[in-house]
Symmetry: C2
Subunit: 158 residues, 2 copies
Amino acid sequence: MTEPHQVFMEAAIALSLESVRTHKGGPYGAVVVKDNTIIGRGMNLVTLTNDPTAHAEMLAIREACDRLQSWQLTGCELYTSCEPCPMCMAAIYWARLERVYYANTKETAAAYGFGSQAIYRQLGLPLAERQLSMTQLLPTEARVAFEEWANQPDKQPY
Amino acid sequence: MTEPHQVFMEAAIALSLESVRTHKGGPYGAVVVKDNTIIGRGMNLVTLTNDPTAHAEMLAIREACDRLQSWQLTGCELYTSCEPCPMCMAAIYWARLERVYYANTKETAAAYGFGSQAIYRQLGLPLAERQLSMTQLLPTEARVAFEEWANQPDKQPY
């Protein structure tokens, strides 16, 4: 293990400990790194801010994007104290991050009562078999927005 | 189909059209409904705000949570112009929404060049087989935060 990797993961772990010790949220921390510099930091703030999306990775990604004034983090790496949940993992793909370093696994998180592993299982099921009821309505009406998007000459695909 | 369902889905579709027509982002809209009232609205703002997490569903959930001053949306329903991507779907589980109504499918979104279906496939793969490289570091050091969390008498599980 090279030294910088260890330093950045220690920064993510320090944020996870800070979140617990200051009663801000769950035991999670993350940093986004570009060119050997931390450009985004996050710790879990779900319960403090009443925001179920305020996971450490999400906040670190949003801070890094804000700093770069870009919705893409190409060339950046994420260090997170725990394997990301499906929300954060999908955000990592949407943001085009280059590489992820994680410490705890989702199995460890599950052993402490956290639900990311259960949500991974739900997302792997067909819609009709999920715990959450999902019903389709008005698909023809909704498709118009995709058509208008497709016909826009100056659209910004992402 | 009962009338209120149609009205709420039409509101979500209207937001998806507004996002396209005002060049704010992709063709997506969503509303959160509680007791027959819209308490959160969102349209895709990814490219406008340089925030890869600014999907319609995420913004609608965050607005609803802010209004209720709670990170839980028990008893609420989400209407979205398109089947949620894994990020939004996991956020829906974290927020404890009761039910989801969607219009377009992720297959339709893929036909117009959007990546949620591809990300669902990635999340279904073991870590070693994913496009994105994921490496574990310092698991022993990181577990301390979970231990401290477990031993906190006044912790707020979520």
